[in-house]
């Protein structure tokens, strides 16, 4: 006779072990920041280690953009209305880059709390967000529009 019960027990143990290991690895994976995205508030709060490549995102603060007339160097502030971070970038800014525009900068946080970006991506927001909403955010300084920049 075949030991059906024993087999069933083995199967259950196997399932439990498999699912357990899966959950374990998944928890490990969850601890990794999936896309290493940090909002200005998180950067200001000191959640980011220096020297690690991160993605920092937020709305470009109007009036904060300074361009070096002699080079491509540009410096600007981004915000999620909870924190402000300066981003320095030496390169051609994307066409969609504008004040009030959502951007993602990929780079490292320096000691001076400035993110030196290797790459700046503009988010294609205007396609999906009605202009009125953006205006409302800008006028009211309402943090609701900034939700999109936190994970």
């Amino acid at each position: 006779m075949r030991p059906i019960r024993k087999r069933r027990l083995q199967l259950v143990l196997l399932l439990v072990a498999g699912v357990g290991i899966t959950v374990g690895i998944a928890l490990m994976a969850l601890q990794q920041n999936l896309n290493l995205f940090y909002s200005p508030a998180q950067i200001v709060a000191g959640e980011v280690e220096q020297g690690v490549t991160i993605r920092a995102g937020g709305l470009v603060v109007p009036g904060s953009v300074e361009r070096d007339p002699n080079s491509l160097m540009a410096e600007f502030e981004v915000t999620d209305y909870q924190g402000y971070v300066t981003i320095r970038y030496n390169g051609i800014l994307p066409d969609l880059f504008a004040e009030g525009q959502g951007i993602i900068a990929i780079g490292e946080l320096g000691e001076d709390m400035v993110v030196t970006a290797d790459q700046v991506l503009a988010k294609h927001d205007e396609e999906y967000m009605p202009p009125e909403l953006v205006k409302a955010i800008e006028e009211a300084g309402h943090p609701a529009g900034a939700d999109q920049y936190s994970n």
Binding site: N35, F37, K123, H124, D125, Y128, P130, E132, L133, N151
Partner: protein, 249 residues
């Protein structure tokens, strides 16, 4: 706990007889809810301050999206019941609900696209929700085609049930990955459900529409199940008696 009701409902004959009058109720309620909801939603509910009248497609889009997901879940539960308790009626439900689920998902996708044009300025966005709904639609199609291409009815039912269960295990993983994948590029600007707190006179017709859609589904699936039962049991005595009675009347 008394399980006799469970086994009674598992019998095709019992199901057929009990739904005889029930199906009219489903149809009646679906009609009432849908008419009331549509008229209220389309004619009387206030227009949205941002989107104007175009938001009214909400009253079709949201109920169909909700229903599309519920049907998948119901199919998976039914598939498990069918496999574990060898209940043929549960398989009948899965098979008859799948095409309805696919159509409703398609409806949700189409209305979503129509809604997307005025609000987002584009018919289609690879937004997390849209993408996972599209994948769900593909899953429905896969399940339907699997069922149709296996000749042996019993094998087809059970294979379809397994495919449903595998799909439902995968659906959360797909949702999660699509969600995450999407945020890498551009997070959804606003998700369809997290619209700014809706005014009561706007969501009540929506709720009525949701109920109407559920009733419509109940009506359609019962109708399809009944005809499938007649087809399957056409050799049995009670079906012959039933058909004779119909002819006499």
């Amino acid at each position: 706990m008394n399980w006799t009701w469970f086994h009674k409902w598992g019998s095709p004959k019992w199901f057929f007889q009990k739904t005889e009058s029930l199906i009219y109720w489903f149809g009646f309620l679906a009609l009432i809810f849908l008419v009331v909801g549509l008229v209220w939603g389309l004619a009387f509910a206030p227009e949205d301050f941002k989107q104007g009248n175009s938001f009214r497609i909400f009253y079709i889009h949201v109920p169909s999206a909700i229903l599309a997901q519920s049907i998948f879940l119901a199919m998976a539960i039914s598939a498990a019941v069918g496999l574990i308790w060898r209940m043929k009626l549960a398989h009948v439900f899965v098979e008859t609900a799948a095409p309805i689920g696919a159509s409703i998902t398609l409806l949700a996708l189409l209305t979503g696209a129509i809604w997307g044009k005025p609000t987002w300025g584009t018919w289609w966005v690879w937004d997390a929700r849209l993408t996972s709904t599209l994948i769900q639609f593909f899953l429905y199609l896969g399940i339907i085609s699997l069922h149709q291409s296996i000749e042996n009815r019993d094998t087809a039912s059970k294979a379809t049930a397994i495919a449903c269960l595998v799909g439902v295990v995968n659906l959360p993983i797909i949702k999660f990955s699509v969600n995450w994948w999407n945020t890498l590029h551009q997070p959804a600007t606003f998700t369809l459900t997290e619209s700014p707190a809706m005014a009561t006179e706007m969501w009540v017709p929506g709720l009525i529409m949701v109920l109407g859609f559920y009733m419509l589904f109940a009506y359609l699936v019962t109708l399809r199940m009944r005809s499938e039962i007649l087809e399957r049991e056409k050799g049995s005595a009670w079906v012959k008696a039933y058909l004779e009675k119909l002819n006499v009347l």
